[in-house]
């Protein structure tokens, strides 16, 4: 219990200091663009009502979820295929390097051309941005399957789907998760950007609306909501990772103790 409180203390110390600094530094600000934190927090409950959460935050989260899930499935699937076959890898690698080098926001206008300006466009934008870190990390992870483990599996008749499930994907899972983690931050950025281009709801849309209407404190509350959303998703991700990669962290800790 004491341990837990201590950890919570460590985790909250720096945010508390930052908020305090912000609060004090902005307290007597008369600049319209930088309202006092006090004003922003006072505005918060008025702006982010249940209705607004439903009409703007929920659509954003759904688009993010859709695009991210699509990218995860496609990235892992294609990455596994490329990672397991040397020839396929030789053919795909240059193309992948090129595609990866294209900054994802540039894709928004391009994708708008054929996917329109609806939800499909946003989901496709998020997916095309998120897929690269997942795909490339999966390729690396799948390539690095230990040859002794692979041979063990073969000698015990563990082939096909079972091999994929119990050996390849599990062995690559630390890298896959590293890719998924990168993809999550890319996904949030693209969610906002795609909603700024053409939308009628969503977090990005709302923030731009506030800014255009000179509702500056409201705009700042929107940015706070975005930050909180990112934080919440990251915590969720960590919980999942701790479950799936428990063995990996445990093993790393045990080899550090006895080199």
């Amino acid at each position: 219990m004491r341990h837990l409180l201590l950890r919570l203390g460590y985790a909250l110390a720096l945010p508390a200091v930052l908020v305090a600094v912000w609060w004090l530094a902005s307290d007597d600000s008369t600049d319209v663009y930088r309202p006092p934190l006090r004003t922003i927090l006072e505005t918060f409950p008025d702006v982010w009502t249940g209705d607004r959460l439903r009409s703007d935050v929920l659509p954003s989260v759904l688009r993010l979820t859709g695009g991210y899930a699509l990218a995860a499935v496609a990235g892992i699937a294609v990455g596994t295929v490329i990672g397991s076959h040397r020839r396929v890898r030789a053919v795909c690698e240059p193309v992948l390097e090129f595609l990866r080098a294209v900054p994802p926001p540039v894709l928004v206008p391009v994708i708008m051309l054929f996917a329109g300006i609806g939800d499909t466009m946003k989901i496709v934008v998020i997916a095309t941005g998120c897929v690269w870190p997942v795909l490339l990390n999966t390729v690396e992870g799948v390539r690095a399957v230990d040859p002794v483990m692979a041979e063990t599996a073969r000698s015990y008749g563990i082939t096909g789907v079972a091999r994929l499930r119990h050996l390849v994907l599990r062995s690559a899972s630390p890298q896959i998760f590293a890719g998924l983690r990168q993809a999550l931050s890319v996904g949030i950025i693209l969610m906002v950007i795609s909603e700024m281009f053409a939308a009628s709801n969503g977090l990005g849309f709302t923030i731009v609306q506030f800014q255009r209407g000179f509702a500056i404190p409201d705009m700042w509350t929107g940015i706070l909501v975005l930050g909180l959303l990112g934080f919440f998703l990251s915590v969720l991700f960590q919980l999942l990772e701790r479950r799936v990669l428990g063995w990996y962290h445990g093993r790393r800790a045990s080899t550090r103790r006895s080199p």
Partner: protein
């Protein structure tokens, strides 16, 4: 049971050509425990991988119960030298042992029975819920052995399984393997570079030459079936046998052709002559750190 006929394996790749095994012919009878000993790098792993269907030979063939081995045969289990990399670190001990059985299509009750029994046999019933990386090296190799046992193989191929564990654990594991062999009546081919281990464990020892690798000699170990670390290793017959194998390996390294008739008892009689043995032991042989050459009554 297991027939190796004219086996030859040449590795080719990136401009290098390595003839790992030149021409090996030998037989392992059903229910036999045969030890294969040879200097490090002479192609023991290569041979075992060919026998386990993990590698396609360049020439010759391996027959299991009269049928040619082309892929991993269902009745064969493998224990690898690298125990740390052979167990899946994301699975608990029991799951590691169970996975091949699932693949075999056995029912849940039967699987549980086999897993429990195998873990008990190797003295690890308590470790079923642990992860492999939470165990010591010797325990990990026990898990690998348990996995092989649960698979109920007719043939067990073991590739230097104890090369990386400490001496005491090694002695325990040797006794474990002999015990399991006597209890379960499997055919075991045990590869090692340790002469003492080969003589202590085997009913028969096959000595390989250094590369180009051929069978240098086959030798029946006429020690009693009941063996233990304390008495067997100081028995005069044990010393004779290990000295003989040692000489064979030393001679192989210097490239002396084996005796015209590698008739076991004949060769042994010669090996018994003291002056010759001294000469051979003192001879200036490039030391091979992987061949353990401590003087006979080592324990």
């Amino acid at each position: 049971m297991l027939d190796v006929r004219g086996l030859r394996k040449v590795y080719e790749g990136s401009g290098r050509r390595v003839e790992a095994v030149r021409d090996l012919t030998f037989t392992v009878g059903a229910g036999e425990l045969v030890c294969l000993v040879g200097p490090s790098g002479c192609g023991k792993t290569t041979l075992l991988r060919c026998m386990g269907g993990l590698l396609t030979p360049t020439g010759g063939e391996v027959l299991l119960e009269g049928r040619k081995v082309t892929g991993p045969p269902p009745g064969t289990a493998f224990v690898f030298q690298e125990y740390g990399r052979s167990l899946f670190p994301w699975m608990r001990v029991a799951e590691n042992v169970e996975l091949p059985l699932k693949q075999k299509g056995l029912g849940k009750a039967r699987r549980r029975e086999l897993v429990t029994d195998a873990l008990e046999s190797v003295g690890l019933a308590d470790a079923a819920g642990a992860y492999p990386w939470q165990l010591s090296g010797g325990m990990q190799q026990r898990v690998a052995i348990a996995r092989a046992l649960a698979y109920e193989p007719r043939v067990l191929l073991m590739d230097e399984p104890f090369a990386a564990v400490d001496a005491q654990t090694r002695a325990d594991l040797e006794d474990l393997v002999r015990g399991l062999w006597r209890e379960r009546g499997m055919t075991i081919l045990f590869v090692t570079h340790d002469i003492d281990e080969a003589v202590y464990l085997g009913e028969r020892v096959i000595v390989l030459s250094g590369s180009p690798t051929v069978v240098r000699e086959q030798l029946t170990v006429d020690l009693p079936a009941e063996r233990d670390q304390l008495h067997t290793r100081v028995a005069p017959r044990f010393a004779e046998l290990r000295t003989h194998v040692y000489e064979q390996i030393q001679a192989a390294k210097r490239g002396i052709a084996p005796q015209d008739t590698p008739e076991t008892q004949d060769a042994l009689a010669k090996a018994d002559a003291p002056p010759k043995r001294d000469a051979l032991v003192k001879a200036d042989v490039p030391g091979d750190p992987d061949v353990r050459t401590d003087p006979p009554p080592s324990r």
